[in-house]
Amino acid sequence: MVLPVPPPTPGVDPTISTPRRPVEDAVIRLAGNSQDGIQTIGGFLARLAGRTDQDVMTYMTIPSTISGGPSIFQVRMGSGEILSSGDQADFLVAFYQHSYDEHIESLRPGGVLIYDSGHVVPNPDDRRFKAVGIPITGATVEAVGGSSKEKGKNLFVLGLIARIFNLDVAKIAGLISERFGGKSEDIVRNAMLAFDAGYATPADNLADCLCRFEAGAKRSETGGPRVSMDGNLALSYGLIAAGVRYGAGYPITPWSAIMETLRSELPKYGGIFVQAEDELSAVSHALGFAYSGHLAVTGSSGPGLSLKMEALGWAVMAEIPLIVINVQRGGPSTGMPTNVEQSDLMQAIYGSHGDAPRVVLAPKDVEDCFLIALEAGRIARKYSTPVIILTDQALATRIEAFHEPDLTKLMVDPKPDLSPRGTDYEPYPLDRLTRHAPPGAPIATGKYPSVSGLEHDELGHPSGNPEMHMKMTAKRREKIKALGASLPVPEVHGDQKGDVLVVGWGSTWGPIREAVGQLRAAGATAGQLHLRNLHPLPPGLREIFLRYKDVLVVEMNDEGLYGYGQLAMLLRARYALPSIGSITKTDGLTFRISEIVNRVTQARAAHAGANGTRT
């Protein structure tokens, strides 16, 4: 057994004579099996970045099997602003032969391959990379002792990474003891033994790959600490801040993490989250909570949303506020449950039956998952309507650091409005927004309202009158249009007019922004427009679109029968502009920056070749 090496002073490494290579950012891909705890390494690195000046973004895939199966976790960290998890890896840590075989091509030429010499035999003829063999398994077992077998490999690798990048060891040690502190002392001790062993990897092996992050530009927004979390957690906390205290759901990947968080958190706030017997029951419970006066939430992923659709139609008809979350994944049916896709947009807007206008929002990054929940709550209350939040698998599971929001300004009072309603109270006035009167609210007229899925008159009585159906349909439509008109005109990033506008929604924000930066650097005049409000759309889009030769909508769904992705189809239908084109993909993976740059360049060339006509 090797004695743990005392953590050296950060920044000073007496064993290394060669200077560290300065890098702006680095993409590290960890490839192993899902039970190896490689997500834990990513989590630590993300938390560490949140506590230092580095920025961070993670990306992971997990198999949809219960235990085992290949899994990756990719971390991009650095001193600049990190907007995407990176196209190619600078470092690949391969735990197994299959990890090496599967992921070696994701390493950029000149990148560093670190492999477990106990499990991996790299191709000796492949000279594109710098290969470093380290007995990860053997050294971990040796460091920790035989009893824990291979557990701790992840912390060994964390130590190795800390060594390579000269990370703040004291801060990592703090994170490790916070993470495992609740368990026995042995666990913290073993974790530190494994970490120290990784950190103490002989310098000779690593000499050429040691680097350090450039000091970089100081953060523009200083002030306030930063927090690191994944999108599902940010969304859960956003819901709490928005005043959600009640909800119901049914387990499905990748939505489940939100319901697990709410189930354990809401009781602390005096609320309840129900695990329902099925999706129909979940949405019905949530509507019951909403009817009883609480802002409530239900959510799911793809197939579960289909099951909620009938009740959602009722919520539109009965004008009951509700927040509905869809953590999108690859579809249809069970599809690719642990991959990302943006193919539920049309369902979110038009699902259910009949004319059932409702609100659809999409967050652009992890921080926005928190903020969009507040926006959803505001809209649901004000317009007495269901609001769907379309997030996705990539956002749900990736970790980002962001400035801690000022909760003192953001927290919304969750109390139901049980104030007495006056003699002029009508549940469904034609000329005003509906204000639901929950039970417990006395009604001055003594006539208590029925909340109804049948078409109804102003007082909620069923009505088969054709004129009343027209009026009420128009009422439900006009209130959503009024919301649209009240939204700010979205800002365009980059060039305000010119060659191409790249339009996106949801989690593609980061890669699109980086791609637009590259397009501009290559000489094109390019702008980025990212839509958070997908239904109703914000005002001013037509004027913006007209300022560009090409308007290309980038989204992770299929081009469909008519050659356009779902948002592109909507924008073409809405604005009837031939300049609107579509870039789609369905590989279940997030967009790489180079993919967007290449596809935009191709589309522009095709458009120019067609003499400006697009059919």
Binding site: R226, I240, P267, K268, I272, L280, L407
Partner: protein, 312 residues
């Protein structure tokens, strides 16, 4: 506690009467058994005298599910089969409300069958009245999950052959903590059963045989003395130590309840099963109390701030 509304003083001191409680005129066919159930419900509310604004009447879809429009209380007409989970949300969301759910055999046993199981299992506090007519009425005579074998409908023109549900046996086995059966022609019995159900702390269900005069006339004559039938009620154990008491039904015995429920048609009427096991409402409140004790009843802002601090 943020979630619990402050108690509201009754809006009107006037006692609740049938006149105050009546709303839209029922849309049911003349002679429908549901009229009697509605009349009995008014009487139950007259007896209970809850604060008017705290009564909620809910239903799913079906003839009987039009019920909320005919009762002047806060009301909900929800979608087919899902009234129980909706009502669970109302009940769990607001402990100060009195939740009544009405519906038919199709809504309750077919479309909503799964929810019946789980609402019973969870024992959510509410009263559920199933107006069972053994046939689909609103859609005009299709087989229902309680239609007897041999009953001819538009979907079984040669006679139904799927075994019908035995509602009492099913309900006892869901874990519902109050299970009773009544007959729409027996008004006093209905009132007694519904009142006991309303006063019960838990998921209380009353199945009421309510004749559809249009599509299944005479379905329940066998239990109607005025039509030559016999209305036999359950004698409940009084625990008075007498030898004859041992022969009476022990309502806390679920197996005995299932045996009673297996008697030949038209069977018995009354309370089959009753237990005071804890409701989900109470258990959830316990969870909240435990969580708040652990956090020393920290305020909402403080709680969320400390969650964020842990992620720095």
């Amino acid at each position: 506690m943020s979630s619990l509304p402050a108690p509201v003083a009754p809006a009107q001191p006037a006692t609740l009467t049938k006149k105050i409680l009546s709303a839209d005129h029922p849309t049911w066919c003349p002679g429908c058994g549901d009229f009697a159930v509605l009349a009995a419900f008014y009487r139950v509310l007259e007896r209970l005298q809850y604060p008017h604004q705290n009564i909620v009447t809910m239903a799913g879809i079906g003839c009987s599910s039009r019920f909320p429009y005919f009762v002047n209380t806060h009301g909900v007409h929800f979608i087919h089969g899902r009234s129980l989970p909706f009502a669970s949300g109302v009940s769990l969301g607001r402990d100060d409300l009195h939740v009544f759910v009405f519906g038919g055999d199709g809504d309750g046993f077919s479309m909503g069958g799964n929810h019946l199981l789980h609402t019973g299992r969870k024992n959510v506090r509410m009263t559920y009245v199933i107006m069972d007519n053994f046939v689909y009425g609103l859609t005009k005579k299709q087989t229902s999950p309680t239609s007897p074998v041999g009953f001819k409908t538009k979907t079984d023109p040669t006679g139904s052959f799927d075994q019908p549900i035995n509602p009492m046996r099913l309900l006892v086995n869901t874990g519902a903590s109050f299970v009773a059966r009544s007959h729409a022609t027996q008004v006093n019995h209905m009132i007694e059963m519904m009142e006991r159900a309303a006063r019960h702390d838990g998921f209380s269900v009353v199945e009421i045989l309510s004749e559809c005069v249009e599509f299944y006339e005479g379905a329940f004559d066998a239990a109607n003395p005025r039509k030559g039938g016999q209305f036999r009620t359950i004698e409940e154990r009084k625990n008075d130590g007498t030898p004859e008491d041992a022969l009476r039904h022990d309502t806390s015995d679920d197996l005995a309840a299932c045996r009673l429920a297996s008697q030949p048609w038209p069977g018995l009427f009354g309370v089959f099963y009753e237990s005071n096991r804890p409701t989900k409402n109470r258990l959830e409140r316990g969870l909240i109390a435990g969580a708040r004790e652990k956090t020393k009843a920290a305020g909402d802002l403080e709680l969320l701030q400390s969650s964020f601090r842990r992620l720095r």
